[in-house]
Structure formats: structure tokens, C-alpha cells
């Protein structure tokens, strides 16, 4: 066995660690003894977090969990719909974690496509809200797509991928336009009708932008 392989194997042993439950037990054992020494000097933090010790030992988990919960509450309160709230949070998280512009654009476009399919299959239910969602998601998709370098970026995405995604986007906009026309009878509120008009205007602009980019290929 050569030195490199041997050292590599040794370093693998670094992966050995206590299970979370045992780590907790050890923590309790040590810190309860410390507190016994000073019964009138209690560690308030340890007392408060005693029921949540698992999470307290790894603060990053507490902070992440709290942030995610906050985002979910925020989205639910704004959207008034828990499912949509959670979907939005998950989508936003995916976008943030996406490694490059192409993947962000692809995620955004797929999300918009899902929203459009949802509107098509809903048969007049919550049409106004869905159109509003589509307006926001399409706008976001357009922004991400506009950020793509048409020639591609080395190691991230190619110009062929850009061409493909723009074609998909063009067909999405076409479909969106037709669906909005078909949804018009279900719009009872004036705000919903105004949103639809606004979205139709934006679609025209986005279509022009997409066409001009496609011409460059």
C-alpha cells in the first residue's frame, strides 16, 4: 500500500463521531455536574434549552429551522394558503441553492410552467390569485433568463442549452397568452381583470425580448 492511500485511509477515521443521542447524554452529564457545583449559579441558557438540547448543541440547525419557519409563516400570511406558502419557500430555497444562472433560470421557468398548468386545470377556481402568481413568477423567470450569457459559460452551461431554454420559454409565453384569454370569463373582480391586462402587456414585451435573443443564434 502506498503512503498516499494509507494516509487517505487514516484520514477516513476522522469520520468517526458520537451519535447525536450519545453526544447529548455526555453534554448533560458534564453540564449537570458543573451546575451541581454551583447550584445558585444556574446556566439559564442550558435550563431554557433543556427540552431542545439536540438542536441547542448544533446552533446552526436552530437558526436554519427558525429562518425556514419564519419564511413559511411569512409566505402563508401573505398568500393565505399554506400549500402555496410552503411551495414558495421551497422554490426560493432551491433557487438560492442553485449553483449557476442557467439552473436558476431553469428552476424559475419550471416553476412558472407548473403554475400555468395549475391555472389550466383549476377550471375557474381562484383564477385571480393564480394569475397574480403567474405574473410574479413569469417576471422572475424573465429576469433570470435575461441574465444568461447566450454564448454559454464555461463549465456551467452551453449556448445550446441557452437556445433550448429560450425556445421552451417562447412556447411557455405562447401558452400563457392563450390560457389568459380562456380564463377571462372567470374573472369577476376588477383587480383580477387589470392584472390580466398587465400580464398580457408584459407577455408581449417578454416575447419580443425572447425573439430578439433567439435571432442571435
Amino acid at each position: 500500500m502506498n503512503d498516499k492511500k494509507l494516509i487517505g485511509n487514516l484520514k477516513l477515521l476522522r469520520n468517526l463521531k458520537l451519535r447525536q443521542a450519545d453526544s447529548l447524554m455526555l453534554y448533560d452529564r458534564i453540564f449537570s455536574q458543573i451546575q451541581e457545583e454551583h447550584p445558585d449559579r444556574r446556566n439559564l441558557w442550558a435550563d431554557l434549552t433543556a427540552p431542545f438540547r439536540t438542536v441547542a448543541i448544533r446552533p446552526i440547525f436552530t437558526i436554519s429551522a427558525a429562518l425556514i419557519l419564519l419564511l413559511v409563516i411569512l409566505f402563508v400570511s401573505v398568500s393565505g394558503n399554506p400549500r402555496r406558502g410552503i411551495e414558495s419557500v421551497l422554490f426560493q430555497t432551491e433557487i438560492v441553492l442553485a449553483p449557476d444562472k442557467y439552473q436558476k433560470a431553469e428552476l424559475a421557468l419550471n416553476f412558472s410552467r407548473q403554475k400555468l398548468n395549475d391555472l389550466k386545470s383549476s377550471q375557474g377556481k381562484d383564477t385571480g390569485k393564480k394569475i397574480e402568481d403567474l405574473m410574479n413568477s413569469t417576471s422572475r423567470t424573465n429576469t433570470y433568463l435575461a441574465g444568461l450569457n447566450l454564448m454559454g459559460e464555461k463549465g456551467k452551461y452551453t449556448n445550446a442549452q441557452c437556445l433550448s431554454i429560450y425556445k421552451f420559454y417562447d412556447s411557455y409565453l405562447d401558452d400563457l397568452k392563450n390560457t389568459l384569454t380562456a380564463s377571462a370569463p372567470y374573472l369577476t373582480k376588477s383587480t383580477d381583470r387589470n392584472n390580466t391586462l398587465l400580464l398580457q402587456k408584459r407577455i408581449s414585451e417578454y416575447e419580443k425580448q425572447a425573439e430578439s435573443r433567439l435571432k442571435l443564434y
Binding site: 494516509i7 487514516l10 469520520n15 468517526l16 463521531k17 446556566n43 442550558a46
Partner: protein
């Protein structure tokens, strides 16, 4: 500095180093429960010095020193030492979370390595654990083993050679 602040600092040190100390102790004693006991004692002894505000130059080195001392004490006190199985790494420990064929092969490899490590001269085993597994720096190892830095460098080379020989 008040007790509450000390306690909070100690908690940070604990969170940062408990896995490393536990691992070191486990590699030396090969017993899951015993390793937990010694790790707990290590931190409690550290606390005894730390709470009084005594200046500790390097927390990590000091903890390893205490752990090493406790391990030596343990072996001295045990008159009728039972032979502890050193063949396999305790199942209680996490190697990684995967359940795959690759993981099983890797576990067999690490079990073999662990057994060979235990079969080395005590000094060599310590050096390999501290340098390659715990990734301590030469000056830190020198302080823990109470040896000159040049001696530590030479020992690392010899220990690796000795371990390599076990595979031949």
C-alpha cells in the same frame, strides 16, 4: 470574568472539541462506554482549571494532555486488565450515514486499519492519531507528547513506515 460567561465559553470549547477528544480516547481504549467516561472526566478536569480563570494557552492541547493522562491512569489502575477486542470499530459509532455496498467495504477497510493501528507501538499509534486523524500541528503534538518538534517529525515518518509494514 463572571461564572456565567465562563460557562458559556466552556460550552463553546466543548462543542468544538468533544468529537475530537472522544475519538482520540476511543482509539486508545477501544471501549465505547469507557471512552465516554474518560471524555467526560477530561472536560470536567478542564473546567476545574478553566473556571478559576487560569490562563490556558491552547485549549485543544490542554484537553488532549488531560485525556492522555487519564488514559495512562486508567491502564495503571487496572491490575487485571481484560483484553478488549480491538478488531472492529464499535458499531455504536457513526462512520457515516450511508447504507451501501461501498460503505460496507469502507468499513471493513477502516476496521482493518484500526486493528493495525492498535498493534503499533504506543508512541507510533499516538503520533498517527494526532497528526493524520486529528490533524494537529507539529508544535501542538510536541506539547502533548512532551517531545521536541524535530523528534515528532521523525516519529511521524517512522510511525507511518511501521504501519505500512503491517500491510506487507
Amino acid at each position: 470574568m463572571d461564572w456565567k460567561k465562563r460557562n458559556s465559553q466552556f460550552e463553546k470549547i466543548y462543542q468544538r472539541l468533544v468529537d475530537a477528544i472522544y475519538r482520540f480516547v476511543y482509539f486508545k481504549v477501544s471501549d465505547f462506554e469507557l471512552a465516554k467516561d474518560i471524555t467526560a472526566d477530561t472536560f470536567l478536569r478542564f473546567w476545574k482549571t478553566f473556571k478559576n480563570g487560569k490562563k490556558i494557552r491552547n485549549d485543544k492541547t490542554f484537553l488532549y494532555l488531560i485525556a492522555r493522562g487519564l488514559i495512562i491512569d486508567y491502564y495503571r489502575k487496572k491490575s487485571n486488565r481484560r483484553q478488549i477486542s480491538i478488531d472492529k470499530i464499535d458499531e455504536e459509532l457513526l462512520l457515516d450515514g450511508e447504507e451501501s455496498d461501498n460503505s460496507l467495504d469502507r468499513k471493513a477497510e477502516t476496521d482493518e486499519l484500526f486493528a493495525k493501528l492498535k498493534g503499533l507501538k504506543k508512541e507510533y499509534g499516538d503520533i498517527l492519531i494526532l497528526y493524520y486523524i486529528e490533524e494537529l500541528k507539529i508544535p501542538e503534538i510536541s506539547a502533548i507528547l512532551d517531545k521536541k518538534e524535530n523528534t515528532v517529525r521523525v516519529l511521524i515518518h517512522r510511525a507511518l513506515k511501521a504501519l505500512k509494514k503491517k500491510y506487507e
